[in-house]
């Protein structure tokens, strides 16, 4: 029960993008087309799941036993950077079109705050191994959902008559605000968790 609660909380109630503001850069950058949003979402979910596992292991079997908690940030970011490198090589080899579509945003997953944010939140809340895993997957799914909804809206937006200064980033942020408002409705589902 607890695991499901953590998963749902991370995916919708406290959606990483819309209520923690994590992963905004790719959210604004890659959400122009549904197909690239889906690819980015999968890449992030994948990296996130692996990162959740590895960072937990590192924290509990390396940093804590040796009394090195101050190295937490450096260690986490190194894990994430190498995971991203791995995913990049994998996509380049196996799914070249997707690799082309994601372009510059793939290396940018390294600096995607959602990934490090997930690792830090899990560490801060002292989740155990399974909780961390579910939290990681939930956060990735939540990120994908937000990105997909946004991409769907932005495809329609191409034909809309938006005031000139708001075109591009301005209107995207305002739409994100309205989406966040809608997602706040989910908070009623499980109190304030």
């Amino acid at each position: 029960m607890n695991l499901i609660a953590i998963f749902i909380a991370a995916a919708v109630v406290n959606n990483f993008v819309l209520s923690y503001f994590l992963g905004i850069c790719p959210f604004l950058g890659v959400s122009g087309r549904v197909s690239s949003a889906l690819g980015m979402g999968f890449a992030v979910t994948f990296v996130m799941t692996i990162t959740a596992i590895v960072t937990w292991l590192i924290k509990h079997y390396l940093l804590l036993p040796f009394g090195l908690p101050f190295l937490e940030y450096v260690a986490f970011i190194l894990v994430i950077a190498s995971m991203v490198q791995f995913v990049e090589m994998f996509l380049k080899k196996v799914v070249p079109p997707l690799y082309q579509a994601l372009g510059i945003y793939l290396p940018l997953i390294t600096t995607n705050c959602a990934i490090l944010g997930m690792a830090l939140f899990a560490s801060l809340r002292q989740y155990d191994f399974l909780e961390t895993l579910f939290f990681g997957i939930g956060a990735g799914v939540g990120f994908t959902i937000a990105l997909l909804i946004m991409a769907g809206i932005r495809e329609e937006l191409d034909t809309a008559d938006v005031p000139k200064p708001l075109r591009g980033a301005g209107i995207t942020l305002i739409i994100a605000g309205l989406l966040a408002l809608a997602f706040m409705g989910f908070a009623g589902m499980m109190g304030t968790s």
Partner: protein, 200 residues
């Protein structure tokens, strides 16, 4: 103001290439901690420290970093300074540290910092990199403080903790919640574009 001159490198981050309003970098802390003026200012100062120190270090050692591993090297330098800033805040300003929570360590992955290292500090001398870093972080801070001002004023009726509106004021709770952050910043971005166009 010639392109490439020292004064240009300093001023461009404040308005023309503002990291938040124009380049849309480092949005997470902008949106997350701009619910009050104090939080916004504290985050701005933390970013200033990390950006200036990492730019100085990286522009100094850029020749000895092999280009294949430059990104990981940049990140380790950045993570080191963020750890310093985090420990300092925790010791000196525990209240602010608690309010900002994980958003201090998240400066590591703030795109502004990595982007400035990749686009500027790794190609320029320490003096110019220092000016660039200062300009960028001041540009980042003023947007954050202004955003905090608007959101705090409308959301709590206060500015930096002082009550501005009387008891008649009904706070707009939405302004201090996530949607308020997105919408206010969206309007800011639009306004910046509008002013840029008017002034050329």
């Amino acid at each position: 103001m010639k392109k490439g001159s020292a004064i240009y490198e300093f001023l461009k981050g404040i308005w023309k290439d503002n990291p938040v309003l124009v380049m849309l970098l480092g949005m997470c802390p902008v949106l997350a901690v701009s619910n009050t003026v104090i939080n916004g200012f504290a985050m701005g100062m933390a970013v200033l420290f990390v950006l200036v120190m990492s730019s100085l270090v990286i522009s100094t050692i850029k020749r000895i970093i092999p280009s294949q591993v430059r990104i990981p090297s940049f990140i380790i330098v950045i993570a080191t300074f963020v750890t310093i800033a985090d420990l300092f805040l925790r010791a000196q300003f525990p209240d602010i540290s608690k309010a900002l929570g994980p958003f201090i360590p998240l400066i590591i992955v703030n795109c502004i910092i990595l982007a400035r290292q990749e686009a500027f500090a790794s190609k320029n001398n320490p003096w110019k990199s220092l000016l660039d870093a200062l300009g960028m972080s001041i540009g980042f801070t003023w947007v954050l403080v202004l955003l905090g001002l608007v959101r705090e004023l409308l959301g709590f009726g206060t500015v930096a903790g002082f009550r501005v509106f009387g008891t008649w004021f009904e706070p707009w709770i939405v302004m201090i919640l996530p949607p308020g952050a997105f919408i206010t910043l969206g309007i800011f971005v639009g306004l910046q574009k509008l002013i840029m166009r008017r002034t050329g």
